[in-house]
Assembly symmetry: none
DNA sequence: CGGCCGTCTAAGGATC
DNA sequence: GATCCTTAGACGGCCG
């Protein structure tokens, strides 16, 4: 038998599992809307940059490099932390 | 001569174009952080869904289909418009 | 050390890796030429269609829709398969 | 009245215009299939290149540069031809 | 870690 | 003929 979710004894229609599913779907859709909105905001900033005469792909590359650098700094700190714990500090 | 942005007469370092560029980069990075945070929130919801015994890929597909249906209504209207123009209406 | 391809011990110039690279580039360029030629052939057909009095954008849309319909049949089968697996069938 | 193609006096169904349209659609679809097949072939070559340890985006860039150079050579020859005709040669 | 999805770039078409 | 825009292909990130 294939029930929805874990509540094996619950009715499949109008039950708590259905409510739970609805909640999940709605929350994801809501979050995804906000996420898309931020994507549009970013696009707007790039449009503004282009209007100001900047080279947008170059700026994208620049931000990408900055993000990578930040990630590597993070990685270095994690390694440092590993060493510190290895040394009991 | 390769200047930054439109301000051809401005100094390349410390000028207004550099400030403008800095503003653009910082705004994009800020928005992108928020965007990534929302991505994590969505991931959390799916993790919760999985814990509740739901089939996550199926839920993803469900949400995808709901979004696509909305998009196709738009598309149909565009096609209808194309045909109307082809027929001189 | 930055070598070409996997052949860490090979000389960088005149080695087998260079030959391999040359082969790849030439094959891609050859295939791309044929691809561009087909694009021109398609363009010719549309030119003929226009000469015959047909509405080319509408024909393009028609072909696009036919392709999309075929793709959606595939997609539906994939979704069905997903659901079947989700239900353990 | 909106007829298909130029043959204003022909019947709209089963007429020569419908046959002509069908011919056009089928030829375009056929050519497009071959075009897509070549795209897949190219993709296969790149997959092979990747397996051999090459950096695929770099190879793409390389081919792009070569294509541009070829185009410029072509352009130079056209200009040369223009000059030759201008000089009656 | 290999494939898949969404996003970004770039090529091609429609429009003026 | 040039420009803008839309769409197909390539790249990066995410899931399985």
């Amino acid at each position: 038998m294939s029930d929805i979710g874990h509540n094996s004894g619950e009715p499949q229609t109008g039950g708590v599992a259905a409510d739970r599913l609805r909640s999940i779907v709605e929350r994801v859709e809501r979050l995804d809307q906000e996420r898309k909105a931020l994507g549009n905001d970013i696009k707007d900033v790039y449009t503004e940059a282009k209007s100001a005469g900047f080279d947008v792909p170059v700026i994208r590359k620049l931000i990408q490099i900055r993000a990578k650098d930040a990630a590597e700094v993070e990685e270095q700190e994690q390694i440092l932390d590993l060493y510190r714990r290895a040394l009991g500090m």
